[in-house]
């Protein structure tokens, strides 16, 4: 194949994809519901398998001009399929609003409306959301239930449990090495072998048989799906098309037909197979954060053999990878509005991990590591998230290359993760060093072992730690609703030091933490009851031999798995405690009770204004001031200790994270004024970043402050956002400055290797450009920025979030 025409075709494909706007697609919901109607009474996992098979056989398939890798999620690029089995009510209630949302809107065609009209009565009372809501109402004590917002799934403004309200589990990285070795036919054969080997004396054998039968049914669908592309490509090749494109269509047909009979033999077949698997995972369920793992590693043998045999050139491989990355941007997901606010910008959190180490501890960099980075720089799209693992032997050349890609991509990719933190942290969970070295990032920052960890997001919970401090300061009551779920042991005026205040905070934390057990278990159990995922299960280690769907947990996977619990607002809590220490206990300018009154008045009056100025001038987290930073360390450790007292439903452990998506905006809205000088309703600091504008001592000071948190406790990752003016990496005329790039690399190495930071990511964009984009969104429609663990089009974000990103201190020189 000639790479000239390839790059032309891929360009054409890119343009074709970019023409589409996000929309909703009715097909999946329609076919799935039809299937469910006819399968009443059958075991749930079989109903589900049949429904998925029918979707794969009945949904439309298309091949866009120029795409070298085929397979679509819905009837158009960027159309989100619908998953009524998770929630029907939000679709019914929000359908008219969805096209009019200020951000994350979708076009809604008339077929969608008709289909929802037709299916809604079938689903009322049967969905995941209905079941979860019912169970929560059974379990929560009355007082807690009164504070529980049934629409957004927030408990007293402190715990957000809505992540999984209308969505499946996701958060896995399949074992793509195994899939590549066996192909779909090979996995199907394993399933059939297991069926033939069933042990009749095992009391669970019927359950195993059910699961295996479900996988078999889904695989019928999978193979028909692939076959449909084979047929379509042949048909299109027979039509009136130009020669280059006809050649490619015939190749597509050939690739598909090879995948129907066995494992992939070439790089292109391997990529196509991975794409089919990734795609079908997105059709089976709508759980996000389904990630790709270490693509440069498992694809390398195919690339290397192709190059050796002269079947492919580097340039051709680059075009295929570009196509693969563009395909990621054709996928989409619609969430209820309440959930959308926590993650705006259409994220799917699909992550590719590059670099790092081999199981025996050598540097794993190969040519594909560079090619993936180059492809990323060329396509400049928000999806997928590409991250680079950094360790003490990562070649400087690779880091220099990656930083240049960061400049070229411009949208915050790649992000950088530390092997030096993550591998030991995984080993602390009891994972061997060989396996730990195989980790990859799922979603934003979750460190998992591909094929092994079931990230068990079950019911993710987000903790608003700053709100918890506000409640502590109000003797256990939430000023927004006057509910007092748990009174502090002492009145605020009896507290004599910050340590005593922290003691009360800890009591509150202990009280609220208990709720994560039912909130997560209920979701997990509901997954297993209503929406098992046989296809996803078939791609994970042990599940076929075990004969157990991943939604059931259990088995050897438990050792690797961790249910996500996030803590938000750590910077604000640390800053607030330090301000209290200074103003209340050291300078004795006012009592804690007076302080509380001032906060309740949102810093009102002359006194309030003066105090706020004082509070703002007290050093903050992010400036390498030990006296403040120590509170970030203390509070994050408290959080860890509390959560670790409990275990999630499916075995394994809770895995903590201080990353916070875009939750800082809605959580800020629910939090009154806080001692750090924050106004009522103002967004919290994002992730583990300093509060915007408070980091005044330069980037090294931020890195130092952040590194004082013990990151090895946070297996689901911490995210640090830093925004740089482009001049930090370029010369006065916009060209790349090699000396600056090298220093930047050294800064990264210091943070990730010497200071043991978990992760860091950068936006290299000036405030002027962002402001212009706010003014003229159309002109800047392609401007990508790193938001939290994901990138998104800047203009597609919540305006409040846009403002926050602009406010992030711009580091220049």
């Amino acid at each position: 194949m000639a790479s000239y025409s390839l790059s032309k075709l891929v360009n054409e494909f890119y343009k074709n994809v970019m023409m589409f706007k996000p929309s909703l697609c009715h097909e999946r919901a329609m076919i799935l519901t039809e299937s469910y109607r006819t399968s009443e009474g059958l075991p749930q996992i079989i109903r589900r398998a049949k429904a998925i098979r029918e979707v794969l056989e009945g949904m439309s398939v298309y091949i866009l001009k120029g795409e070298l890798i085929v397979g679509n999620q819905a009837s158009r690029p960027k159309a989100a399929p619908l998953f009524p089995e998770f929630s029907i009510s939000f679709l019914v209630n929000e359908l008219n609003e969805i096209p009019r949302r200020p951000f994350d809107s979708f076009d809604v065609g008339v077929e969608v409306k008709n289909v929802i009209d037709k299916i809604s009565t079938y689903w009322f009372g049967k969905t995941h959301e209905d079941r979860v809501t019912y169970l929560i109402s059974l379990v929560l004590p009355d007082e807690a239930l009164r504070s529980f917002n049934i629409n957004s799934f927030v408990l007293n403004d402190v715990i957000y449990a809505g992540v999984r309200k209308a969505s499946g589990d996701g958060h896995i990285i399949p074992n793509y090495q195994t899939l590549l070795r066996l192909g779909f036919p090979g996995i199907l054969k394993n399933v059939e072998d297991e069926i033939s080997k069933l042990d009749l004396t095992d009391t669970q054998s019927f359950k195993k048989a059910l699961f295996l039968e479900a996988v078999r049914i889904v695989y019928e669908g999978v193979l028909s799906f692939i076959k449909r592309y084979y047929v379509l490509a042949r048909e299109m090749a027979d039509g009136d098309v130009d020669d280059d494109w006809r050649d490619e269509l015939l190749r597509i047909a050939e690739v598909c037909s090879n995948l129907l009979i066995g494992p992939p033999k070439t790089f292109r077949e391997a990529l196509q197979l991975i794409w089919f698997a990734h795609l079908i995972l997105q059709i089976e369920s709508n759980g996000h954060s389904v990630s790709l793992g270490r693509s440069d590693q498992y694809l390398y043998p195919y690339y290397e053999a192709d190059v050796r045999e002269g079947r492919i050139t580097k340039e051709e491989a680059l075009e295929l990878i570009k196509c693969f990355l563009i395909k990621m941007n054709t996928l989409n997901k619609v969430r209820p509005w309440s959930e959308t606010r926590y993650k705006s910008g259409y994220p799917l959190f699909m992550t590719i991990t590059l670099g790092g180490q081999t199981p025996d501890g050598q540097d794993a960099t190969n040519e594909l590591t560079y090619l993936f980075l180059d492809a990323l720089a060329e396509v400049k799209l928000p999806q997928p998230t590409i991250v680079l693992r950094v360790h003490s032997k990562t070649p400087e050349k690779l880091l220099v290359h990656a930083v240049k890609v960061l400049i070229r991509h411009g949208g915050g990719l790649p992000a950088f993760f530390s092997d030096e933190v993550i591998i030991p942290a995984l080993m602390n969970m009891g994972i061997t060093v060989y396996e730990a070295r195989e980790y990859a990032i799922a979603g934003c920052s979750e460190a998992v072992i591909p094929g092994k960890s079931l990230s068990f997001t079950g019911g993710v919970c987000y903790f608003n730690l700053l709100k918890l401090l506000e409640i502590t300061l109000n003797d256990g009551c939430n000023p927004r609703n006057d509910l007092c779920l748990f009174n502090t042991t002492r009145e605020i005026d009896e507290l004599r030091s910050v340590d005593e205040l922290i003691e009360e905070f800890k009591n509150q934390l202990a009280f609220y933490t208990k709720f994560i057990v039912p909130l997560t278990s209920i979701t997990s159990a509901t997954d297993a009851d209503l929406n098992p995922t046989p296809f996803a299960s078939s791609l994970m280690d042990h599940r076929i031999e075990l004969g157990l769907d991943i939604s059931e947990g259990g088995g050897p996977n438990n050792k690797y798995s961790h249910t996500i619990i996030q803590g938000h607002g750590i910077a604000n809590v640390a800053n607030s405690l330090y301000v209290i220490e200074e103003l209340v206990f050291r300078e004795k300018l006012l009592t804690l009770k007076e302080f509380r009154e001032i906060l309740l008045s949102n810093w009102g009056g002359v006194r309030g204004k003066e105090l706020r100025k004082l509070a703002l001038n007290i050093p903050k987290y992010g400036n390498d001031v030990d006296d403040v930073d120590r509170y970030a360390k203390i509070i994050s450790k408290l959080f860890y200790d509390e959560v670790m007292k409990y275990r999630p439903l499916r075995g394994a452990v809770f895995g903590l994270s201080l990353q916070g998506l875009t939750a800082n905006v809605p959580e800020g809205e629910a939090t009154g004024a806080t001692p750090d000088g924050r106004l009522s309703g103002e967004a919290l600091a994002d992730n583990v970043s300093p509060h915007p504008g408070t980091d005044r001592n330069g980037v090294t000071a931020i890195l130092k402050s952040v590194s004082k948190v013990d990151h090895s406790l946070f297996i689901n990752g911490n995210i640090l956002n830093i925004r740089f003016h482009p001049s930090v990496l370029t010369d006065g005329f916009g060209g790349i400055d090699e000396g600056k790039v090298l220093r930047f690399v050294k800064m990264l190495e210091t943070f990730l290797i010497d200071l043991k930071g978990f992760q860091v990511q950068f936006n290299i964009v000036s405030a002027e450009v962002l402001r212009e984009a706010q003014k003229e969104p159309l002109k800047h429609a392609n401007l990508v920025v790193k938001v939290a663990g994901y990138s998104a089009y800047f203009t597609s974000l919540d305006r409040k979030l846009q403002d926050q990103i602009i406010l992030r201190t711009e580091h220049l020189l």
Partner: protein, 309 residues
């Protein structure tokens, strides 16, 4: 009692001021008055107030606290009288908008050092360290020397950015603890130098020869910087003069160009001073890439070894 110095900034992650990642300490006070100076707040040897009128909302808070009557209300707006001001900083603490800034702070060597030490790991990784600039570090040579000496005790790489406008014994003392040196040559003609910077250059040029002949720093760690101020000091005659001087040195030294920019222009107003180059007689402009390339070519053709640090 520890010796104190007057500094006006400590900047982390400095990447223009010597090898690797550095912390740059800005010493306040300078005997020169270069017309293009982008750190005019570093020139006077006392703390002073910068007053950004554009940020002032005329709230009058400063007038209430000023003990000197240096900030007063007149016709609904605030008038600041620098003559009366003692830079006590009372107004800075109350100003709600940040319109007032106090530049210059007396600090001990220990205080500076503890800040510098915080980035030790970055220096070790990147081969960076401490740079003392300003202002003119040699105006506070005892403080600077002590700071450098103490930094060397921690094996921190040290650099100094100076005009070398000081007595040779002072130069020698400070350089005892200096690993890397940046010196500016702004012009070779003494009269012209006087016109552009307020002082003659004889001392500077003889100090350059002195530093090299005595090997006070290694020649590989010695960089001469030429500020390129279009139509002010960059005519070919002037450049040729500088090149000839450099060629006449017994060593091959590295030379770096510092292109003119106007990022410090707004500070003059905040200091209540005029920006001399605003006067159209100077015809100064910000050089383009091509413009600088042609100057580089010219200097290279005269045998000057250009680098970018």
């Amino acid at each position: 009692m520890q010796i104190k110095g007057l500094i006006f900034n400590i900047q982390k992650y400095s990447i223009h001021d010597g090898p690797g990642i550095r912390t740059l300490v800005f010493v306040k006070g300078c005997p020169l008055r270069c017309l293009w100076c982008c750190n005019p707040e570093g020139q006077t040897p006392q703390p002073e107030i910068m007053y950004y009128r554009n940020l002032c909302v005329s709230c009058g808070m400063c007038t209430k606290v000023c003990p000197r009557g240096a900030s007063v209300f007149r016709d609904n707006s605030v008038v600041y009288n620098r003559e009366l001001c003692t830079s006590c900083g009372a107004c800075v603490r109350v100003c709600p908008t940040g319109a007032r800034k106090l530049v210059g702070k007396y600090v001990t060597v220990d205080e500076v050092l503890s800040e510098v030490l915080k980035d030790m790991k970055f220096y070790v990784r990147s081969g960076g360290g401490l740079t003392v600039g300003g202002g003119e570090p040699l105006t506070q040579h005892e403080f600077v020397k002590e700071l450098l000496r103490r930094a060397k005790e921690y094996a921190i790489h040290t650099a100094v950015e100076t005009s070398l406008y000081a007595g040779p014994h002072i130069v020698k003392e400070v350089l005892r603890h200096t690993d890397y040196l940046f010196v500016d040559i702004k012009h070779v003609d003494p009269t012209k130098h006087l016109e552009l910077t307020g002082v003659s250059n004889e001392l500077i040029l003889s100090n350059i020869r002195y530093v090299l002949s005595e090997s006070l720093v290694d020649v590989s760690s010695f960089v001469i910087r030429i500020p390129i101020i279009p139509s002010v000091n960059d005519d070919y005659g002037s450049l040729r003069g500088i090149a000839e001087f450099i060629r006449s040195l017994k060593h091959e030294v590295s030379v770096e160009l510092l292109p003119y920019h106007e990022l410090g222009k707004h500070k003059y107003e905040a200091l209540g001073r005029e920006y001399a180059l605003s006067n159209p007689i100077w015809k100064v402009f910000i050089p383009s890439k091509e413009y600088l390339e042609s100057i580089s070519k010219f200097l290279t053709s005269l045998g000057v070894k250009l680098v970018s640090t």
